[in-house]
């Protein structure tokens, strides 16, 4: 027993080191698998508030382009209203406007913090879009703020389809350029042309179908490949992202409960 205590004391620093590192690695593993903690992330009120102040100040420097963007959006919305028929009013999709408080675009795992949280009805797993197209999926929800995993995060997979023929694929990001992503799982027999439009598939309740994702920039098909390598120019400009909308599907909970029972 005494020798054991002696050995423990002799290596106590090393043991402390190992214990602390194990704790840190457990945090990394559990947090990336299923991030629960809204306190230990930028969804934390105090930290998001600080980011919001910084973004407020930075916001003054591009008011002009923001105004132009909003004006263009107004025109588009007016056109949409005038072409709406009464059937569309029975929709189950509701949008909640939110402001981007903080966003990174040049890392492998980029995140976006928005100023809406659980008190605004935000739930983990809801889709986020802006007027240009798809932005990402809500990852962590705090009281007043939430963290969104954008499509420019190497962990994100988004189910998409070609607008022209409903052929589905999976959008992934390679971590390099925030303007481009890759569309995987498109079989070789499909004809892919530069300029083809990619939209959300609507296969999950996260996004309604038909929200713009991007446009095919180029595609390559090597001899013997069974899938295309497709480079997609994303519709959303993440570098100047400011206002977003959270997609709240009234049936999302119900749909998820139904599919959950199937696993």
């Amino acid at each position: 027993m005494q020798t054991l205590i002696k050995i423990l004391l002799r290596y106590s620093n090393f043991l402390v080191f190992i214990a602390l590192e194990v704790a840190a690695f457990l945090l990394i593993v559990f947090n990336s698998a299923y991030p629960r903690s809204s306190v230990l992330s930028t969804a934390n009120d105090a930290i998001a508030w600080q980011h919001e102040q910084v973004s407020e100040i930075r916001g003054y420097f591009n008011l002009r382009s923001q105004n132009e963007q909003l004006a263009a959006e107004n025109v588009a919305l007016r056109n949409q209203i005038s072409s709406m028929d009464s059937a569309q009013f029975r929709q189950v999709i509701h949008y909640t406007g939110a402001k981007a408080v903080q966003m990174t675009t040049d890392r492998l795992h980029n995140y976006l913090t928005i100023n809406r949280g659980s008190i605004d009805g935000i739930i983990r797993g809801q889709g986020v879009r802006n007027e240009e197209g798809v932005v990402g999926i809500v990852r962590t929800v705090g009281r007043n703020y939430s963290v969104v995993m954008p499509i420019i995060n190497t962990h994100t997979n988004l189910s998409c389809r070609f607008a022209k023929n409903d052929y589905a694929g999976t959008l992934k990001w390679d971590g390099k350029d925030s303007r481009f992503a890759e569309l995987a799982d498109v079989a070789a027999h499909m004809v892919v042309n530069p300029g083809d439009t990619i939209v959300t598939s609507g296969l999950s309740p996260v996004f309604p179908e038909g929200i713009p994702v991007g446009i095919v920039e180029n595609s390559t098909l090597k001899e013997g490949d069974s899938y295309h390598t497709i480079r997609v120019r994303l519709s959303t400009n993440f570098k100047r992202l400011k206002y977003v909308e959270v997609v709240q599907n009234a049936h999302q909970m119900e749909l998820e409960e139904l599919t959950h029972g199937l696993d």
Binding site: L20, I28, S32, L40, Q50, D106, L108, H109
Partner: protein, 164 residues
């Protein structure tokens, strides 16, 4: 040892990190973590396990700002684990140090060695753990190189200005 001074420096450095260095967008590869300055400049008379605990706490706070729970924590613990061994290897006459490690006490050459080695270890750990796959190793290495260079320059600059 003057705790108010250490904590004051920590707060100032963290503010600079979050408000200034985290906002940098230099070619998408420069993400300097200058906050390690507080860890590198800690007095060398602390018990080794206390150093590692301080590292864990400082790293955890940084993680909250980066949405990367555990990544900075693990890297800072590693940094604080290596620190006494590196000081032992670089500095011959430890008694002369009088608890403070700086350009003034160990000279510019030794200080650059000390800062550069620990910063590279820390940054490499952060970027590797954040990537969490070998697939992006090329990017991670460039990111480490550029960001470490920036961090080392800032920390050495601070030292030269403060203790010249």
């Amino acid at each position: 040892m003057d705790w108010t001074k250490q904590i004051g420096r920590y707060i100032v450095v963290m503010l600079l990190q979050v408000l200034l260095f985290d906002q940098l967008q230099l070619w998408g590869v420069c993400h300097p973590y200058v906050y390690v300055l507080c860890l590198l400049m800690l007095p060398i008379t602390l018990p080794h396990s206390a150093e590692m605990l301080i590292g864990a706490a400082v790293g955890l706070v940084m993680d909250v700002f980066c949405n990367s729970l555990g990544v900075h924590m693990a890297s800072c613990i590693l940094l604080m684990f290596m620190r006494p061994y590196l000081i032992g290897a670089i500095v011959n006459d430890k008694d002369r140090l009088n608890e403070q490690i700086s350009v003034h006490t160990i000279g510019l050459g030794a200080m650059i060695q000390y800062v550069a080695i620990l910063v590279v270890i820390h940054h490499l750990a952060v970027f590797t753990l954040a990537a969490w796959s070998w697939q992006h190793m090329g990017f991670v290495l460039i990111e480490t190189l550029v960001s470490s260079l920036f961090t080392v320059l800032v920390i050495i600059g601070y030292n030269v200005l403060k203790y010249k």
